[in-house]
Amino acid sequence: MRSLLKPCRLAFAAFALVALALVATPAPAQQPNSVNPTADAVKEDQLLQQLHIIGGRGTIPDVKSYNIEQPAGRDWRHYQEVVLPWVGAIAILGMLVVLVAFYLIRGMVRLESGRSGRTIVRFNAFERFVHWMTATCFIILGISGLNITFGKRLLLPLMSPQAFTDWSQWAKYAHDFLSFPFTIGVVLIFLMWIAGNLPARGDLTWLEEGGGIVGRRHASAGRFNAGQKAIYWIVVLGGGAMAATGYLMMFPFYVTDIAGMQTVTMIHGTVAVLFVAVMIAHIYIGTIGMEGAFEAMGTGTVDVNWAKEHHDRWAEQELAKGRSAAPPAGAAATPAE
């Protein structure tokens, strides 16, 4: 017991001495009475104004979680819930209204000189295969994509939530996986039709004359007229933009951060609804808008008179090469052995 007391007494004496020294020494710099530990603390308002996204250091592998606040999500929500539905509805319904009105006023553009009975190859089997592969993918991608924006507004009230989810889940899988053939199709379209779709002399005249569908008289054109060239470039550039933004969305956060992902989805949505609107016009002209036009992508051959009326320069070239085929049906068309 005694042996324990001694070091205790010693420690107490030392402590008292230090305490005495502290009291006796005048403080060199007087501490302020009230300490404000938050004087230089980070402030939320300040950070938000400086950075738009507040982020720091975290301890888990998920780097996305190091951001604690990004009020830009509210702007993105405004785009998703207000801007995109309106832009989409106006673009798509507006296009339908314009086309119905146009059809009622102008009607189907007829073949003025009637059918000659002789046909000429316009698109070979490979070209048609690529076109229809891309077109089929586009229609499914379009419907499944529009479902994301308009499904809950138009379809969900008509079905049970579980049925709508099942449909949307499959639509989403279709959207993801059909993007691959669609992208391949866009690349092939770009490569196989680039030769005929470069801007050329005559495009401006064609546009001035209003082309074959708006104007009354047939404007001169090569294999592709200026309107078709516009469709071609919309498909190539629009499809390219859809594919690029789409793959960034399919592999989220691999390339860009949250702000980038928001921009990417906004580009994808806006280009998509405009793309759909343009393609509705394309479908119109290729079907009920113009007599003899569907055959080009259907059977691959067009009537020689159609070719002369709509693509006079191309028709001349092809006929000069002797590519016109014999009348397909009825007439004695069996080639000599």
Binding site: A41, S65, K152, Q162, T165, S168
Partner: protein
């Protein structure tokens, strides 16, 4: 009815991550998912602060608005919950969420990210309160048992407050008055369109 909110008093948070661990344990959160995380701002510099962040259960929640299948809903206590049966894992809620709360079990894999998972304010999901199905999908339903979220209950410095918005705002106000400072209620302006004077 109470209006449930979270409040992280950053002047008290010591970055111990007990809230994160408590949440993971209480809710059996799947591997790789963090419903709550602690982020340190200005790490290692003067004025460094740590904030524990999870779903803030926003007023007029952006995730709820953008969900294409309307999988996210509000409870009577203003807690934002979701149905994993209705979710298609599109990831839109993450883009809209101001707090980065929604999580997905898979990262990419051709867009099939699995069903979204996020903080439920320990209030389970649409299944029957306290049922086995509810626990497996969403974790504990402490609210139905009259208890508050585990993260706030476990907070070693009582930095993280969870409960009725008015009550926790009052507690925070009293703290600010008593100690003479407060760096504000993080996220309240964005989540609830209000601030607590400090």
């Amino acid at each position: 009815m109470a209006r449930m909110k979270f409040l992280c008093d950053a002047d008290r948070c010591i970055e111990c991550n007990a809230c994160v661990t408590a949440c993971k344990n209480e809710n059996e959160v799947p591997w790789g998912i963090n419903r709550r995380r602690v982020v340190t701002l200005n790490d290692g510099r003067p004025g460094e602060r740590s904030v524990s962040m999870a779903c803030m259960h926003c007023t007029d929640a952006p995730c709820m608005a953008v969900c294409p299948t309307r999988a996210i809903y509000n409870t009577a206590d203003a807690v934002v919950l979701h149905s994993k049966d209705i979710c298609i894992g599109c990831g839109y809620c993450f883009y809209a969420c101001p707090f980065g709360a929604p999580q997905y079990p898979k990262v990419g894999n051709f867009g099939s990210r699995g069903k979204m998972d996020k903080c439920t304010f320990c209030a389970g999901g649409p299944e029957l309160d306290g049922s086995k199905e509810e626990y497996e999908k969403y974790g504990a339903n402490r609210l139905a048992e009259g208890k508050l979220p585990m993260c706030a209950e476990m907070c070693s410095t009582k930095s993280l407050l969870a409960g009725d918005g008015e009550i926790i705002a009052q507690i925070y106000k009293e703290r600010v008055v008593k100690r003479g400072y407060g760096s504000g209620a993080w996220g309240w302006k964005t989540a609830y369109h209000e601030t607590i004077a400090s």
